[in-house]
C-alpha cells in the first residue's frame, strides 16, 4: 500500500505507488489530449507538426494557429480542470461528503451572481471575471459565517451551502430576466461554462493561483486534511489547529473555484467527479489531492475536445458536456451511496 522513500536517517517520505501511477497516467492523458486538441480544427495538423511548432520550429502560420489561437484555450482547460478538481477534493474532504463540491454548495452560483451583476452593469470581460471572483469569495464568507457555531461542522456547511445554492440560482434567474437581450445571451453562455476564445489573459491569473496555492495546499494541507477526516476531537488531539486549518483550506478552495469560474464560467460537475474518480482509481483513503488535480485536468481538456469536435458542425460549450457526463455520474453516486446506507 504505502511505500517509504528514505534519504539518510532523517528524511523519509511516504507515498502510495498506485496513487502516483494514477496521477502520472492522468497527467500524461491530459497532455496527450491537449496535443491532439492543438492539432484539431479547421486547419488540422499532425502531432509531430504540433510538437515542432510548440518548440518554436513552425511556420509563421502554424505558429499563429497553435501558439496564439489554440494553446491558450488548451492551457486554460488544463488549469481550470486542475483548479476545480483541487477545490472539489478539498471541499469533499473538509465536509466529509462526496457531494461537497463548489457547484453544489453554492460557491459557483455565487460566482455566477457576481458575473451577472457585472453583465447587467455592462462591464467588460475583465470586469466579469472580477465579478465572478468577488461573488464566489463573498458567498464563501457568507456560507462560513452562517454555518459557524463555535466552529464549523461539515454537515452544517453542506446544508447551508445547498440552501445558498438554491437561493443564488433563483437570484441568477431573476438577474437574467433583467438583462438586455444581447447581454442575456452573453450571460447565458458564460453561465453554461465555455472555453471559447480564451486567451492568455484568462489563463495567467489561474496559473499564478495554482502555482502559489497548489504546493501550499498539497504539501502543507494534505496531511492535516487527513487528520481532520477523523473528526475534530481526534484531529485536535493530534495537534491540528482545527478551525484555523479548516478556514485556511476552505479559503484556498473558494479562491480556486472562483478563479476557475472567472476563467471559464461555472463548468459544472468537474469539481464533483474528478476527486471521486481519482479516489476510485487510486483506491486510497483520504484526499488524493495530486491525483485529483491531474484527473480534473484530463477530464476537462477531454470534455472540451469532445465539445468542439464530437458533433460535426456543432460546437457545444464545454459545460454542456461536463454537465451531461457529470449529471449521469451524480445519479449513479446518489444511487450507490443510498444503497450503502450513507444518505
Amino acid at each position: 500500500m504505502s511505500s517509504t522513500l528514505r534519504i539518510g536517517a532523517s528524511v523519509s517520505v511516504r507515498y502510495r505507488p498506485r496513487a502516483l501511477l494514477v496521477g502520472a497516467a492522468a497527467a500524461l492523458l491530459a497532455l496527450a489530449v491537449g496535443v491532439l486538441a492543438l492539432g484539431s480544427g479547421d486547419y488540422p495538423m499532425s502531432t509531430s507538426d504540433v510538437l515542432r511548432t510548440l518548440t518554436g520550429g513552425g511556420s509563421p502560420a502554424e505558429d499563429f494557429i497553435v501558439n496564439d489561437l489554440r494553446l491558450p484555450r488548451v492551457v486554460t482547460a488544463l488549469l481550470v480542470g486542475a483548479a476545480l478538481a483541487l477545490a472539489g477534493a478539498l471541499f469533499q474532504s473538509l465536509v466529509r461528503n462526496p457531494l461537497g463540491s463548489p457547484d453544489i454548495l453554492g460557491f459557483t452560483q455565487g460566482a455566477g451572481a457576481g458575473a451577472l451583476l457585472v453583465v447587467l452593469a455592462g462591464g467588460s470581460s475583465l470586469a466579469l471575471a472580477g465579478g465572478a471572483i468577488a461573488g464566489g469569495v463573498a458567498t464563501g464568507a457568507a456560507i462560513y459565517a452562517l454555518a459557524w457555531r463555535q466552529g464549523v461542522q461539515g454537515s452544517r456547511l453542506v446544508l447551508v451551502g445547498i440552501g445558498s445554492a438554491a437561493v443564488l440560482t433563483g437570484i441568477n434567474g431573476y438577474l437574467l430576466t433583467r438583462a438586455q437581450l444581447m447581454d442575456a445571451a452573453r450571460a447565458m453562455l458564460w453561465l453554461t461554462g465555455s472555453l471559447d476564445g480564451r486567451g492568455w489573459r484568462d489563463a495567467v491569473p489561474l496559473l499564478i493561483a495554482l502555482a502559489v496555492l497548489g504546493p501550499a495546499v498539497l504539501l502543507g494541507g494534505g496531511r492535516a486534511l487527513r487528520m481532520l477526516e477523523m473528526g475534530d476531537d481526534a484531529a485536535g488531539g493530534l495537534g491540528i489547529r482545527v478551525e484555523r486549518v479548516r478556514l485556511a483550506l476552505l479559503a484556498c478552495a473558494v479562491l480556486l473555484a472562483s478563479l476557475a469560474a472567472a476563467a471559464a464560467g461555472p463548468v459544472n460537475f468537474v469539481a464533483l467527479t474528478a476527486p471521486q474518480l481519482a479516489k476510485r482509481l487510486t483506491r486510497a483513503p483520504g484526499p488524493n489531492l495530486l491525483a485529483a488535480m491531474c484527473t480534473g485536468a484530463a477530464l476537462l481538456v477531454t470534455a472540451d475536445h469532445l465539445a468542439q469536435h464530437a458533433f460535426a458542425g456543432h460546437q457545444l460549450p464545454v459545460g454542456v458536456v461536463t454537465g451531461v457526463l457529470g449529471g449521469g455520474y451524480l445519479v449513479w453516486l446518489l444511487a450507490t451511496e443510498r444503497r450503502a446506507g450513507r444518505m
Partner: protein
C-alpha cells in the same frame, strides 16, 4: 515542570458550548502518574472536561495548565506529543486499514521531511500488539465490529506515545473480557511505563478497582475526588447518580463494590433460596 503542581490541571474552568454553560468554576487536578477515572451520570460534562483538558475546547474562563503553562499558549504539536486524547466518538475515513489508522497516531512526531521513521513503524506495531489488533492490521476499519474498532482507536492513541493519555469511555462497546483487557492494559501503562492516565468509565466497580484517583462529577461539578477506597460510599453514589445502593468489599480486590438496591418487591423472601 517548573512548579510543584501536577503536570495537568484545570483551574476555575467555565466550560460552555455557545451560550450553554456546562460547568462553572470547575477545578480539577490530575495527580502525576495516577490512573485517574472520571465518573458521573450522562451529560454531566465528563467529555466536555476531557475536551478542555486536551485543548480541543477552549474554556470561556479559567485555564488548563500543562506543566505549569496555560495550555492555550503551548504550541499545538508540543501538546500533542505530551497529551493524547481518545475522543468518545471519531470517524474512520472511508477505505482505511487498521494499520493505516493506527499510524495516524504518529502525526505529532512527523514532519514534511520525516514522514515515516523506523521508530514510527516500531511503535505502530507495538501499539497494535498491545491492544490485540495486530492480526487485523490489513483489514478495513469500516468492516470491523464495534469492539474491534474501539481497540483500534485505542491503539492509535497509544501510538501517539504521550506521557499523559486521556481516554473517553475506552471500554464502551467492549464485551466484559475485552473491557478487563483494556483496563489491564491501562493499568500496565500506568504501572510499568509511568504514564498518567485519565479515563471516563461508566462502570463504577471497574472504576473503583482500577483507579488510583477517582473524580465523581454531577452537573458540571466535582462532587468528590480521591482514592476510591476513601470516597466511594453509598451516600456518594446516591448523591451522584440518584441510585440507592449498598457498597461492599470486592471479594477479589477489597476495593468498593457498588451493588444497586433491589427494586421494591423484587427482594427474595428470606429462606426461599433453594
Amino acid at each position: 515542570m517548573e512548579t510543584g503542581g501536577p503536570r495537568l490541571a484545570g483551574a476555575e474552568l467555565t466550560l460552555a458550548y455557545e451560550k450553554r454553560t456546562i460547568a462553572e468554576g470547575l477545578t480539577v487536578a490530575v495527580p502525576d502518574r495516577s490512573f485517574t477515572v472520571v465518573v458521573g451520570p450522562n451529560a454531566c460534562g465528563k467529555s466536555t472536561l476531557l475536551r478542555a483538558l486536551s485543548r480541543t475546547l477552549r474554556p470561556s474562563a479559567g485555564s488548563v495548565l500543562l506543566d505549569g503553562q496555560d495550555i492555550a499558549t503551548v504550541p499545538a504539536r508540543r501538546v500533542a506529543r505530551t497529551l493524547g486524547l481518545l475522543p468518545q466518538s471519531s470517524v474512520a475515513p472511508d477505505g482505511i486499514t487498521v494499520a493505516e489508522l493506527v499510524a495516524r497516531g504518529r502525526y505529532p512526531h512527523q514532519g514534511l521531511l520525516r514522514q515515516w521513521s523506523a521508530r514510527d513503524e516500531e511503535v505502530v506495531t507495538d501499539s497494535m500488539a498491545a491492544t490485540g489488533v495486530d492480526t487485523l492490521a490489513d483489514r478495513l476499519v469500516d468492516e470491523l465490529s464495534g469492539g474491534q474498532r474501539q481497540r483500534v482507536w485505542i491503539a492509535m492513541a497509544l501510538a501517539q506515545e504521550t506521557p499523559l493519555l486521556l481516554l473517553d469511555e475506552p471500554t464502551t462497546y467492549l464485551d466484559i473480557a475485552h473491557q478487563i483487557e483494556v483496563l489491564d492494559l491501562c493499568a500496565r501503562l500506568h504501572e510499568e511505563q509511568g504514564r498518567t492516565l485519565v479515563a471516563v468509565l461508566h462502570d463504577l466497580n471497574h472504576a473503583a478497582r482500577y483507579a488510583t484517583h477517582l473524580i465523581a462529577m454531577r452537573d458540571g461539578k466535582v462532587v468528590a475526588s480521591g482514592p476510591p477506597t476513601e470516597i466511594v460510599t453509598a451516600d456518594l453514589v446516591e448523591e451522584v447518580f440518584r441510585l440507592p445502593c449498598r457498597v461492599i468489599d470486592d471479594p477479589e480486590t477489597g476495593t468498593p463494590l457498588v451493588v444497586p438496591a433491589a427494586r421494591r418487591g423484587a427482594v427474595r423472601p428470606e429462606g426461599s433460596r433453594a
